[in-house]
């Protein structure tokens, strides 16, 4: 538990001190990143469905950003 507290406190310190960091990519330099083709999830209705297909066919799960319930897997 002591290690967990230490990790959280060190993280807080880093975060608080990091608030003074100046953004190295200015807002006016983010034109390319704002292009819809750069979205991580351009079509949520489609990616959620495909995630469900892979969840049902594979043993691995998680860290895809989706969530849901049910089985639909037999």
């Amino acid at each position: 538990m002591r290690i967990a507290k230490l990790v959280v406190l060190v993280g807080m310190g880093a975060v608080v001190s990091g608030c003074s960091i100046q953004p190295w990519v200015k807002p006016y330099e983010r034109e390319h990143l704002a292009d819809p083709i750069m979205a991580f999830d351009r079509d949520p209705v489609s990616s959620a469905y495909l995630d469900h297909v892979f969840d049902a066919r594979e043993g691995a799960r998680g860290a895809t950003g989706g969530s849901g319930g049910g089985c639909g897997c037999n």
Partner: protein, 407 residues
């Protein structure tokens, strides 16, 4: 610290850790400069999906609507259906073809306060033999001049598992003697980071723990039985009642000089059942002539088997836990996908429609199993003995057609 250890710690001392985490987030909120965040655009999608492969056909609609209510509040709702016709290899071995229907409804809320977005979702899924209720809570925080977004999430699921049996008329009815429960808890931590004016990265970690009835009430394992003409007999599978997994995914997305994007995604997965998996996913996105966007995808997946999996156990009740689910076998999967999106406008469309796209997508999945055999091909008369059948291979096509409208 591994995620499973973190989860155990959180279970043991939830109050203290939660307080520390909230304190950290509060300080983040006060420390950041005031670029206002934005909620996603108002949008409606209507999708038709179809999966066909391995004797299974699943199709149905999905409708997703997102709507902002003012600048700080948004709601989203999804209605999803699966119509299943299954004569999969599992079904062929131990049951008969069946039809099933699943309906999933979800309602979500987003609240934006400064640079923090809070989300909450409730999801309900119903099948004749399975119901699931899920609640999710999340928050994300933009910081460092909006170069960095940190997110935290929690998901809780309550599942009820039933079993259908044949009624005297040949239809199916729920078995009144069988009802089981399964609960899920999931914890997620995410970080997305702008690295350069053309490169963005994200890191997602998710720990999921399940407790309760985790196997299928229908599926069987097989064991060697010299007294059976096929050389094997069947018994019900038996899984552990707990399952804990950790997954870590790293995504990099790069804007190419000719207005195109390439995305690489790697995920490592491990769980308490001994399954380790690696996923590598590459997507190339290419706009064409203003109105078209094409996507090409290659995905590679490989996993090791669960500790208690076997294609053919030496004898009945060989060990405490028994599985022959092909999703717990050792195998490698390949997916190739192509998508096309066309932006169009209808002259007589209402003025509140800002943009419309028609989209089609086809993914082909090929899975080569290393130790799951096609037990329907056992034929001792022709020298194909139990345990020597050809290895199973799954070919599946996944088709999507959807209309998207921004308003």
């Amino acid at each position: 610290m591994t995620m499973s250890r973190m989860v155990r710690l959180m279970k043991g001392q939830p109050g203290k850790l939660l307080a520390l985490a909230l304190l950290a987030l509060t300080m983040l909120g006060h420390g950041s400069t005031s670029f206002a965040g934005v909620l996603a655009e108002d949008r409606a999608d209507a999708l038709y999906h179809r999966y066909q492969g391995g004797g299974v056909e699943i199709q149905g609609p999905s409708v997703l609507v997102r709507k902002k209510l003012g600048e700080n509040f948004a709601v989203n709702a999804n209605y999803y259906m699966d119509f299943v016709t299954s004569a999969s290899i599992d079904v062929k071995l131990s049951a008969s073809q069946y039809k099933e229907q699943r309906t999933q409804k979800s309602l979500g809320f987003e609240f934006l306060h400064g640079k923090t977005t809070y989300t909450a979702n409730v999801i309900n899924s119903k099948e004749s033999d399975y119901t699931a209720d899920t609640a999710t809570f999340g928050l994300s925080q933009d910081m460092f001049g909006d170069l960095t977004t940190v997110s935290l999430g929690y998901r809780r699921g309550w599942n009820h598992v039933y079993r259908n049996i044949k009624d005297p008329d040949g239809g199916k009815v729920r078995d009144p003697t069988f009802a089981q429960q399964m609960d899920t808890r999931a914890y997620t931590v995410g970080l997305s980071q702008i690295l350069t004016r053309n490169l963005i990265a994200s890191l997602n970690v998710e720990a999921i723990t399940d407790e309760g009835y985790l196997n299928s009430p229908y599926r069987s394992v097989r064991y060697a039985d010299a007294g059976d003409p096929r050389g094997f007999a069947l018994q019900s599978e038996i899984y552990p009642r707990t399952h804990t997994s950790q997954a870590t995914a790293v995504v990099l997305k790069y804007y190419l000089p000719w207005r195109a994007a390439i995305e690489g995604n790697y995920r490592f997965y491990s769980d308490s059942w001994g399954v380790n998996a690696n996923t590598l996913d590459l997507t190339y996105t290419h706009p064409w002539h203003g109105r078209w966007i094409f996507d090409g995808r290659l995905r590679y997946y490989t996993q090791t088997q669960a500790d208690f999996y076997s294609d053919l156990f030496p004898r009945r009740d060989f060990q405490n836990f028994l599985a022959r689910d092909k999703e717990l076998a050792s195998y490698t999967g390949y997916t190739i996908g192509l998508g096309a999106s066309y932006e169009f406008s209808v002259p007589w469309a209402p003025k509140w429609i800002q943009k419309s796209t028609l989209n089609a997508r086809l993914d082909h999945i090929l899975i080569d199993y290393d130790n799951f055999r096609d037990a329907t091909k056992t034929n001792p008369g022709n020298g194909i003995l139990a345990g020597a059948e050809p290895l199973y291979r799954l070919n599946a096509n996944v088709f999507q057609l959807f209309l998207s409208v921004w308003f």
